[in-house]
């Protein structure tokens, strides 16, 4: 490889580090992302300027890049913000799949040239094929779960732990075989077993934990790309893949901590028997329901109102009516804030994106730590499409799946209005004691519909 191209790759590696650094701060995030994109484009252009490589099939390669680019841009620009987590999962999956295919092609080269390669190169090839396939299949299942193409509840069947363990052993055996005697069929079989492991890894994970799994699979793909870099003797792939693998693993741990869950528990909780989710059936205990007019009176005469938005709000597309309602309450002299739980929505930070889309002023969005002390002074807390993030079981019930997760102290407010479609439990599948509290009123119905009625009722007062 010419020295100047190696130096360009070094510069691109530095840009990726700066990109990640930029992405972790609100002011620098957008430029960080653009810097990363620029570096990636420059790096991918290098093979075309590398004359000694005698790159063949250039028109076909350019056509394939064009197809992928059009597909990627179309997907990225048309996806609804509520569906963004599954889009990230899908992008991650195809990246893992690409890495596995690249490793298979490299294996093909090694086999063609007589199978002479250092054992560590073969081991890295086996790793790339296996983990790339795991990431691909796992991400497709997370996509299907979040897109609700399949149930979001854990899928567990008898013998799952045995099949899972068996396929792990099979993958190890195949990897050892590949290192000892490289052959295409071993590589392809390893890829297929990898797909099976990916499937079995994600099927038992409950819907609420899927975001953490996306982050973990993202780290997996990073490590896959790093191993692929070693196989191809390309330092940039090694550096970029390792950066993503390391930061992705760390981010996974941060997210798991924000939700009060351990990664091992998320992945293997369901496997150990005893699903990570509760029973999940609706209870028939008495609750107090109100009509929009009564709820409007409670809101209209409150001095301090806190809104707790959840994923249900965004799904119903009620965030625009909500913003209007807040504007009206604001005009009547109430102090209104939005309390944003770190994992509100389907991913950490997802709710901020969704509300920003509805043009809610950034200053009204308050993070959990800033607002939790204010709930005891709040006259009314309006919970819209959220459930688990205000469930006191996280503080009081040691056996609950969400026990230990920091929650918004909505239970300390004087009155609580829940806007809910039904008594169905939240994504974590457990009952919320707060719904039965005597301070709580339930406003049943579709969030958009109820919000519209509530808005009209408040305006009429």
């Amino acid at each position: 490889m010419p020295t100047w191209i190696q130096l360009v790759f070094l510069a691109c590696g530095v840009c990726f580090i700066l990109a990640l650094k930029g992405l972790s701060g609100p002011k620098t995030a957008r430029n960080g992302n653009l810097l990363g994109a620029a570096a990636a484009v420059v790096a991918c252009a290098m093979p075309f300027f590398w004359t000694d490589l005698h790159l063949q099939h250039v028109p076909l390669i350019l056509a394939a890049i064009a197809v992928g680019t059009v597909g990627g841009v179309y997907g990225a620009r048309t996806v609804q913000m509520t569906q963004m987590p599954q889009m990230v999962a899908l992008f991650n999956g195809v990246g893992g799949g690409a890495a596995a295919l690249v490793a298979l092609l490299e294996l093909h080269d090694i086999v063609e040239t007589g199978g002479d390669a250092p054992w560590f190169t073969l081991a890295a090839t086996a790793f790339t094929i296996a983990v790339g396939s795991i990431s691909f299949a796992g991400s497709i299942v997370t996509f299907a779960k979040l897109q609700e193409l399949m149930t979001s509840r854990p899928v567990v069947f008898a013998g799952l732990p045995v099949i899972f363990g068996g396929s792990l052993v099979a993958a190890l055996v195949l990897a050892v075989l590949l290192v000892n005697d490289p052959g295409m069929w071993v590589g392809i079989l390893l890829g297929l077993v990898g797909l099976l492991i990916g499937l079995l890894l994600v099927l038992p994970v409950g819907g609420a934990d899927v975001p953490i799994v996306i982050s973990l699979l993202n780290a997996f793909t990073g490590l896959t790309v790093a191993a692929g870099g070693y196989v191809l003797s390309n330092v940039l792939l090694l550096v970029a893949g390792t950066l993503v693998g390391a930061s992705g693993t760390f981010l996974t741990l941060l997210m798991a901590r924000a939700m009060g869950r351990s990664v091992a528990n998320i992945l293997f909780g369901a496997l150990k028997g005893g699903s990570t989710l509760g029973a999940g059936e609706a209870s028939d205990r008495p609750v107090r329901s109100v009509n929009p007019e009564d709820a409007a009176i409670m809101l209209a005469y409150a001095d301090r109102v806190i809104i707790v938005p959840g994923y249900g709000l965004a799904v119903a597309q009620a965030q625009h009516s909500l913003r209007e309602l807040v504007d009206v309450l604001d005009a009547r002299g109430a102090q209104v804030d939005y309390a944003i739980h770190p994992v509100a929505g389907r991913m950490p930070g997802h709710m901020n994106v969704l509300l920003a889309e509805a043009q809610v002023p950034y200053e009204q969005l308050r993070e959990m730590d800033q607002i939790n002390g204010d709930f005891k002074d709040a006259d009314v807390v309006l919970v819209v499409g959220a459930n688990d993030v205000v469930n006191p079981a996280a503080k009081s019930t040691p056996g609950a799946p969400i026990y230990g997760m920091p929650i918004l102290n909505a239970d300390e407010a004087r009155q609580i209005i829940f806007m809910k479609r039904s008594m169905r439990p939240g994504f974590a599948g457990i009952e919320n004691e707060l719904l039965f509290d005597e301070k709580t009123s339930l406003l049943f119905g579709d969030a958009k519909d109820s919000m519209g009625k509530l808005l009209n009722a408040v305006k009429a007062l």
């Binding site: 990726f16 972790s24 597909g71 993202n218 793909t221 760390f250």
Partner: protein, 109 residues
Amino acid sequence: MTLDTGVVWLTIFILSVFVGIEVISKVSSTLHTPLMSGANAIHGIILLGAILVTGTTDNDLALVVGLIAIVLASVNMVGGFVVTDRMLQMFTRKKPAIARKDDSTGGPA
């Protein structure tokens, strides 16, 4: 003393692990989603590897597999950066709330 290339690779790998953790250690939870998405786009750099193996093969089947890998990797890389930018665009919008039609394509405001 000559450098063992294997050890050089190991050194780069280990140092990258530390850098990867260090650079994002102070991220606020608000930015977890865009950060994950941006990191996701960065590993789309596998496109470079896909181009290299595809452009140096003489085997027809390998060429087809390689082209598929290129398509997948470009979706990962390009789509990843574009969707991250779309998310971040919403954070950086300075204009106050104004009623306007929902811009679901996320084009420039």
